[in-house]
């Protein structure tokens, strides 16, 4: 305590604000433009040169005098009036453009986005900042590097700004309050020590994370990492990881703010890529406009989430500069508006033009109230007046019952669909990760079709005891439709893959050239009202036979359109009614062949994201397991090269967990549904889950590794003991047959299945309680079956379906 006091006495009188700013390391610019902490400026100030904050503190504050409103006012200052730069200013600086230049009217010398980008790059080169060592690069690589540099720098700068402001808003407030507490109770030295330790710990963790991030950035800047897609993917994956962290931040916001951001992001995700980027760019540029609503931290956090996701989605193939430029234009357009109008516009753009849900519902219910008065009046006129109140009560009771029942039905269906969607999604991800081949895709389609065929008759056979349950039938039918849709989607995925395998770029380009030669007019299009060159190209390409444009990944489509438009030689300003001729580009065999080949590389690049995701997971796991150890370049390389299996395990576990969670959610939703409906829904759910490729992966793992064959006859106690230690040995397969003598360690996939089985047994144990404990020597299979016998069904909340299907031979798998 004394030490701290002395420290304070050695410095000029400081306000709580200054103390906290010093502690948080918040920096501001002094007049020389040098970044300094407030304390540094205060210690070295000359009259008239210090900033607003120090002066304000000297004039007004002592720690205990400030009332709440004054304190609030001071806390806002660093965000709104300080020399701290706004996100807009940061971005402007990074683009190398002055505010004045950006704000020139359309009649003035407004430069193109590519000019802006080039200037920025030139500026960096002149200063020698962040310039990679000279490496012989192709023009294409250089161009891509520019895009990457620009996109990443924008995001990182904006994030830095976010962090600064977050500090000045949150930690600042927290520390002031803590210091106040300590000052008031200065005898509680221990408590202060504890607070300081906690703060230092958090700060150290943040510093470590930032250092790891900066190390990677420096590597990139120095060119240590080989130029190309890998390093790009690394960077983007890294940003994605930050994206996740921002999500964590959003979760810490108060409920209304969370809802606002969530709603905004949901809407945002539904927008087209161009619109997404425009909004994101606008948010980055117009950060200051967003302070006024939702809370700065939350909004910028939301912006960052949106921004990074977008950059990741589009950066591989399209001109990021151009897209971000759309956002800049959007912001420029609104620059002259009042702050309130600007804010409202930004909010609408993010959340959508629709009326706020809350307000909309409130208005609807108000209108209902008025309508109700009218109806009640009429009821009194049409029916006996003395009956009117009874009629009203009757309608209220019936409607309330309908609401409960209806919601139960609609939510069960929604959850069922969600489960199926997740299953398909996880299967698709798994397919990507495992480089699914043609045969595999065909197998998925075949299996899906088979399950759909089985589903119909199964539902028809379900006895429905009363006409009152007929609503359940429609639910079942809806489930069948969903299943069919899923099967259809699976087929589409499979066909896309098969098509990609079957067709070479040369063949496609040759076929296109032939088509163009036969009928060039087919490849010309007129720009319709409200359309654009991009949309026109998109529409036309979607109709070109044999190109497979519609089944391309989004990144591939964007690249394709960009390249075609560039080849056609038009700028983006086309007029309604203008005729666009794509025949020369599409008929140019060598150009198209090159374009198609490049598009294949983009698809591979997308897969690299997934691989990088695995690496990140491995790094994250390592960091958790090794607190305090430096995460430097060498460490990262070591983790990535030596932990591929670990990373894969983590990713796969996530996929399976997602599917399993969906299944569990559905199982929960079944509670409270009439028993007769449960039987029907159970059948449907089984089929849907089976169709979900994620679930299908489970038996596949078991089939390939023989996990179930190895463990089903083990005693529960031995299984639990060995699995906890990861010590289950697997029989080596010789000529496809398990050899009990030859043993080997578990593979990553096998370990995953063992873990799921273990979790499942624990769940059964939890439900069964003391009486449900496994008997001595009772095998895993016997234990699971005993639960099924006792409860009339297996436990669906986990692995029950998988186990029963494997054992009954119901699944077409190899055990």
């Amino acid at each position: 305590m004394d030490k701290d006091k002395n420290t304070m006495e050695n410095k000029p009188l400081r306000s709580k604000v200054d103390i906290a700013m010093e502690e948080t390391g918040v920096e501001v610019k002094d007049k020389t433009g040098e970044l300094k902490t407030v304390a540094e400026i205060a210690m070295n100030k000359k009259d008239g040169e210090t900033n607003w904050n120090v002066k304000k503190a000297e004039q007004k504050d002592t720690p205990d005098q400030k009332n709440e409103s004054e304190r609030d006012e001071n806390e806002k200052i660093p965000m709104q009036n300080s020399p701290l730069r706004t996100a807009q200013e940061i971005v402007l600086e990074n683009t190398g453009v002055t505010k004045k230049q950006v704000l020139k009217t359309p009649d003035g010398d407004l430069r193109s986005d590519s000019d802006i980008a080039n200037e920025r790059v030139n500026k960096i080169i002149e200063k020698g900042e962040g310039q990679p060592e000279k490496i012989e690069k192709t023009e294409e690589q250089i161009e891509r590097d520019k895009e990457v540099d620009s996109a990443i720098k924008r995001v990182l700068d904006a994030e830095d700004e976010f962090k600064k402001k977050e500090k000045s808003q949150k930690k600042f407030e927290g520390l002031v309050s803590r210091f106040k507490m300590v000052i008031n109770k200065d005898k509680e030295g221990e408590k202060k020590d504890s607070v300081t330790r906690e703060y230092n710990k958090v700060k150290a963790e943040k510093d470590q994370a930032k250092k790891a991030m900066n190390d990677l950035i420096k590597q990139y800047a120095r060119g240590d990492i080989e130029s190309g897609k890998t390093e790009f993917a690394t960077k983007i994956a890294m940003l994605k990881d930050k994206d996740r962290l921002e999500n964590e931040r959003i979760k810490k916001q108060d409920k209304p703010t969370q809802g606002w951001i969530k709603k905004g992001l949901e809407k945002w995700h539904k927008q087209g890529i161009l619109k997404q980027v425009a909004i994101t760019g606008a948010f980055i540029m117009g950060g200051e406009a967003l302070i006024a609503f939702g809370g700065l931290t939350a909004i910028v956090g939301g912006t960052m989430v949106a921004g990074m996701a977008t950059l990741e989605a589009v950066a591989t193939a399209t001109g990021v500069e151009k897209m971000i430029g759309s956002g800049q234009k959007w912001y420029r357009k609104k620059h002259g508006m009042t702050k309130e109008a600007k804010t409202e516009e930004a909010r609408k753009e993010f959340v959508g033009e629709e009326e706020d849900d809350e307000q909309g519902i409130e208005n609807l219910l108000k209108n209902f109230d008025q309508h109700d008065i009218d109806l009640n009046k009429k009821l009194g006129e049409v029916f006996k007046v003395e009956h009117r109140d009874k009629i009203i009560r009757w309608t209220v009771a019936v409607a309330a019952g309908l609401a409960v029942g209806g919601l139960r039905a609609s939510h069960a269906i929604a959850k069922m669909k969600k489960g199926a969607e997740l299953g398909t999604k996880s299967g698709m991800i798994a397919s990507d990760v495992r480089a699914v081949n043609e045969e595999k895709l065909a197998e998925i389609v075949g299996q899906g079709t088979k399950e759909v065929e089985k589903l119909g008759p199964r539902i028809n056979k379900v006895p429905f005891p009363s006409a009152g349950e007929s609503g359940q039938i429609s639910r079942m039918q809806e489930a069948v439709t969903s299943a069919k849709e899923l099967e259809f989607s699976s087929r589409g995925v499979a066909e896309k893959g098969i098509e990609a395998v079957a067709k070479s770029a040369g063949e496609t380009a040759g076929s296109l050239a032939k088509q163009v030669a036969e009928n060039p007019d087919k490849f010309k299009a007129v720009v319709e009202a409200g359309s654009s060159q991009w949309k026109t190209a998109e529409g036309l390409l979607g109709e070109v036979e044999g190109l497979g444009f519609k089944s391309m990944e989004l990144e591939q489509q964007s690249h394709f359109i960009d390249s075609i438009i560039k080849e056609v030689g038009k700028n983006d300003l086309v007029k309604t009614g203008e005729k666009l001729d794509f025949s020369k580009a599409l008929g140019n065999k060598s150009f198209m062949e090159k374009l198609i080949e490049r598009n294949k590389e983009i698809a591979k690049g997308t897969k690299e994201f997934i691989n990088i995701g695995k690496n990140n997971a491995a790094i994250e796991k390592w960091a958790v397991a090794n607190p305090g150890k430096a995460l430097n370049t060498e460490t990262v390389k070591g983790i990535i090269s030596g932990s591929k299996k670990v990373a894969e395990k983590i990713v796969d576990k996530g996929i399976i967990d997602e599917a399993a969670k969906a299944g569990e959610t559905f199982a929960t939703s079944l509670k409270g549904v009439p028993t007769s409906a449960v039987a029907a829904e159970k059948a449907t759910f089984e089929a849907i889950k089976t169709i979900g490729a994620g679930i299908k992966k489970l038996p596949e793992f078991a089939g390939e590794s023989g996990v179930w064959a190895q463990t089903s006859d083990m005693s529960v106690y031995k299984f639990m003991e060995d699995s906890a230690k990861g010590a289950i040995e697997m029989s080596e397969k010789i000529g496809g047959v398990s050899n009990a003598v030859s043993k080997r360690a578990m593979t990553g996939e096998e370990a995953k299945v063992i873990k799921l089985l273990r979790d499942y047994i624990i769940k059964i144990g939890d439900i069964g309680g003391k009486a449900g404990r496994p008997g001595k020597g009772q095998t895993v299979m016997e234990y699971i079956n005993a639960f099924r016998a006792k409860n009339g069904r297996p436990l669906y909340n986990g692995l029950g379906e998988f186990v029963s299907k494997v054992k009954s031979g119901d699944m077409p798998i190899r055990v």
Binding site: L365, F368, D372, V382, F383, K384, A403, G405, G468, S470
Partner: protein
């Protein structure tokens, strides 16, 4: 039998009013209120169609103490108004058309 449950009017109200994306509690709020008004609208419409005797019987039925069951009202309406289900569907559409969010 229940005219209202069998016709799945809950789901139809949700669809007609476009409230499927709302949180569960909000949906329930709108559903309960809309269901109430919808039934009142239907009763008023039916009252116009029924013969004077049937209308009187319907009035008596609704005024009973304790209240009649939902099934009894459903049976009466199904018997006396053969196209009651399509009438109900029309009413949902017209109601939602007037008040859609």
């Amino acid at each position: 039998m229940s005219l209202f449950k069998d016709a799945n009017i809950q789901v139809k109200i949700v669809e007609a009013f476009g409230i499927g994306d709302l949180p569960e509690d909000k949906q329930a709020q709108v559903l309960a209120r809309a269901g109430e008004l919808l039934i009142k609208r239907l009763f008023l419409k039916v009252a116009d169609i029924l013969s004077p005797d049937d209308r009187n019987n319907f009035d008596q039925m609704l005024g009973q103490e304790p209240p009649v069951s939902e099934d009894q009202v459903s049976s009466f309406l199904t018997e006396k108004v053969p196209n009651i289900e399509s009438l109900l569907q029309e009413e949902i559409s017209s109601f939602a058309g007037e008040f859609r969010v």
